[in-house]
Amino acid sequence: MHISSFSHLSQLEAESIHIIREVAAEFENPVMLYSAGKDSSVMLHLALKAFYPALPPFPLLHVDTTWKFREMIKFRDALGAKLGIKMLVHINQEGIKDGLNPFSHDPGHYTDVMKTVGLKQALNHHGFDAAMGGARRDEERSRAKERIFSFRNDEHMWNPSDQRPELWNIYNTRINPTESIRAFPLSNWTELDVWEYILFKRIEVVSLYFARARAVVDIDGTKILVDDERMPTELRKKAKEEFVRFRTLGCYPLSGAVSSTARSVSEVITEIKGAENSERQGRLIDVDSIGSMEQKKRKGYF
């Protein structure tokens, strides 16, 4: 027996590359979900590494709710063009027709229609049999319970009480035609690992993660960025300039900013090490009720 001398980031990296390659090898029509956030950026970097010097043999898919931060969309489009990887964008047109709006509708309902239903529509439309997502087990307690290769039935539902055993790094990828697998290459990464890796590998991420003066409105204790003119005027009037950054990015009306002075990756790392609240605290849709993430995942959320 010999002592393993790998650092933790190298080990996590190798494990993730192994997972991504396994998906590419075992599925006929896999896809990688891409949100333009930091976890997606790291996952995409790992996919580039896994197949270098070729490009990854699968497209990227962004489920666009039309309420993402403008900078995320710009970043997404520039990146797709730069890498030459196919970037599929899906918008749930039914939600658009119904005029769903996170400012005036229930955030839970809005998220269900624009994200969960949107994702399911896109996966069904393209016939993807596996979707890789950048979710991490340290994000939330029900995610901490999910397998790396997570079986979903023909309605994309997760059944937490009947998960397949997952032994060593052997993954059971066997499914029937209408079923699918969600694979999570970053399962064992923490928020800090992700940032340390971004620093170490100089991975580009959207500047919303770094602090600067931004116009934000305090809505029930959550700082919401004035990202465009769709924010209702009576809210916009209350906007104040504050030094803030985002720890997690989603739809701008539902993602809270945190007060911060961290302007660079290493300052972000220092800040996270001393943080008192979790990353998800700024996400309105995850704190609305006990066990809400589990409920969403049961319905097909990623």
Binding site: H2, I3, S4, S5, F6, S7, H8, Q11, L12, A14, I17, H18, R21, E22, A24, A25, L48, K49, Y52, P53, A54, R137, D138, E140, R141, S142, A144, K145, R147, P160, S161, Q163, R164, P165, E166, L167, W168, N169, I170, N172, R174, N176, S187, N188, T190, L192, D193, E196, F200, I269, A275, E276, N277, S278, R280, Q281, V287, I290, G291, E294
Partner: protein
């Protein structure tokens, strides 16, 4: 700028197991809480859940890991949970496992990826059948280092004699598990004694805290062999006349210029380059995910294995192995299953049952089937020739799963113990 932070921190995966209610989830909650990695909003969430589900006004730390709705309602752990924290010296993955017997297969999932096991033992009850079962499975899966955390010491007045009696009983049992290293520590997961901070209530104990034991434990590699093995995971068609062979090195190392053999075809090739995104490497070792390019075209595909010239592997159409059965339908002889080993899929069926292990007393009994959560020694007949290592030499090329052809379920975990005799 060279990366200064924590670069050489190693990763330790810790299995937390033991009998029902002996305090596994509480211990993990305590480790996280006292290491300051629990955020305030998470404490607020479990406080409100403690009052909803337990009708108490404190924060039940086990709720930090028992995250599923049904687990919170029942107050038990049903499936494995993974929690993460690090100290200045190491990054830890804590793998919480269920104590209830019907969830043993979930415990096996956790054990298969762990470097070390912490076994929780309630100081009032001592070694229970389920403690033995978990410890045996952990050692079966190849864990060599055990820490016995004698918990709930607060309920026995931190009594030294109770602690020493349990340690003594355990030693006898653990000696029967073969070549493993065992240490004991008295703790209270509820109050935190000897978990992260040294307790003043156990002045008679001098081996430090649980966290210091975890920081100092040696991490050993998953493979016992130093021979080079690389199962091909994916063939990368880089261009019309150039292929890269991708995979994770299972053991040993390979250098640029090495002559390798492809198993099972026995064909040869010379490694022209070890390609990575960050440039070519001269050498790739155990655990690295790499791409090999050869100096001339070679015929190899997913499931084949690269080895060094003169370092063959075992091969055969019948293997002897230990099987852990994980589905409700019992295993009987002569039913064909698909078998996934390394990156290869083949099929085979059990041709003979040699014994079933009685976990109560670790004796072997004759049997002709295995039911859910039972462990047995069997021979498997394969439809094609299989190239493999023994599990004790290599977990990657000696461990496998059974996949049920009808239900697609993962039906068994298997560990190869030898070549079968016809």
């Amino acid at each position: 700028m060279e990366y200064p932070l924590d670069k050489k921190k190693a990763l330790l995966r810790i299995l937390i197991c033991g009998s029902v209610d002996h305090g596994k989830s509480s211990l993990i909650g305590r480790l996280l809480y006292d290491s300051d990695v629990v955020y305030e909003d998470q404490i607020d969430a479990i406080k409100s859940e403690t009052s909803e589900f337990r009708n108490e006004n404190t924060a039940d730390l086990s709720l930090l890991v028992d995250g599923l709705q049904s687990e919170k309602e029942l107050g038990i752990t049903i499936d494995v949970a993974y929690r993460y924290f690090s100290t200045i010296r190491r990054k830890f993955i804590l793998i919480d496992t269920p104590g209830h017997e019907q969830y043993t297969r979930n415990m096996v999932t956790g054990a298969s990826n762990s470097d070390l096991a912490v076994i929780l033992i309630d100081a009032r009850c001592g070694l229970q059948p389920q403690t033995r079962r978990h410890s045996f499975i952990a050692s079966l899966l190849g864990i060599k280092k055990f820490i016995l955390a004698i918990n709930k010491m607060d309920l026995v007045g931190f009594d030294r004699e109770s602690f020493e009696k349990i340690c003594f009983d355990c030693k006898t049992f653990f000696n029967g598990l073969g070549d493993i290293e065992v240490s004991c520590i008295p703790v209270s997961a509820l109050d935190g004694d000897n978990v992260v901070t040294l307790s003043s209530k156990t002045p008679w104990f001098h081996a430090g805290t649980l966290i210091s034991m975890l920081e100092e434990a040696q991490i050993v590699s998953k493979s016992n062999t130093s021979q080079f093995r690389l199962p091909i995971q994916y063939v990368n068609h880089i261009s019309s006349n150039l292929s890269g062979f991708c995979g994770t090195v299972a053991s040993g190392f390979v250098r640029k210029g090495d002559v390798v053999r492809i198993l099972p075809s026995q064909k040869r090739g010379t490694v022209k380059a070890i390609v990575t995104y960050e440039g070519e490497l001269d050498c790739a070792t155990d655990g690295m995910a790499v791409t090999l390019i050869f100096d001339s075209e070679i015929e190899a595909s997913r499931g084949d294995i690269f080895v060094h010239e003169g370092q063959g592997m075992m091969e055969g159409r019948r293997i002897d192995c230990t099987l852990v059965w994980m589905v409700n339908n019992p295993l009987v002889a002569n039913v064909t299953y698909d078998i996934k080993i390394g990156t290869r899929i083949c099929s085979g069926k059990v041709s003979a049952f040699h014994s079933k292990i009685e976990l109560e007393n670790l004796t072997e009994q004759p049997t002709n089937e295995l039911s859910l959560n039972e462990i047995g020694q069997v021979s498997i007949d394969l439809e094609d020739l299989l190239v493999f290592d023994l599990y004790e030499e290599s977990q990657v090329l000696g461990g496998f799963i059974f996949i049920d052809r009808q239900t697609n379920e993962t039906a068994a975990a298997g560990m190869i113990t030898g070549i079968g005799k016809f």
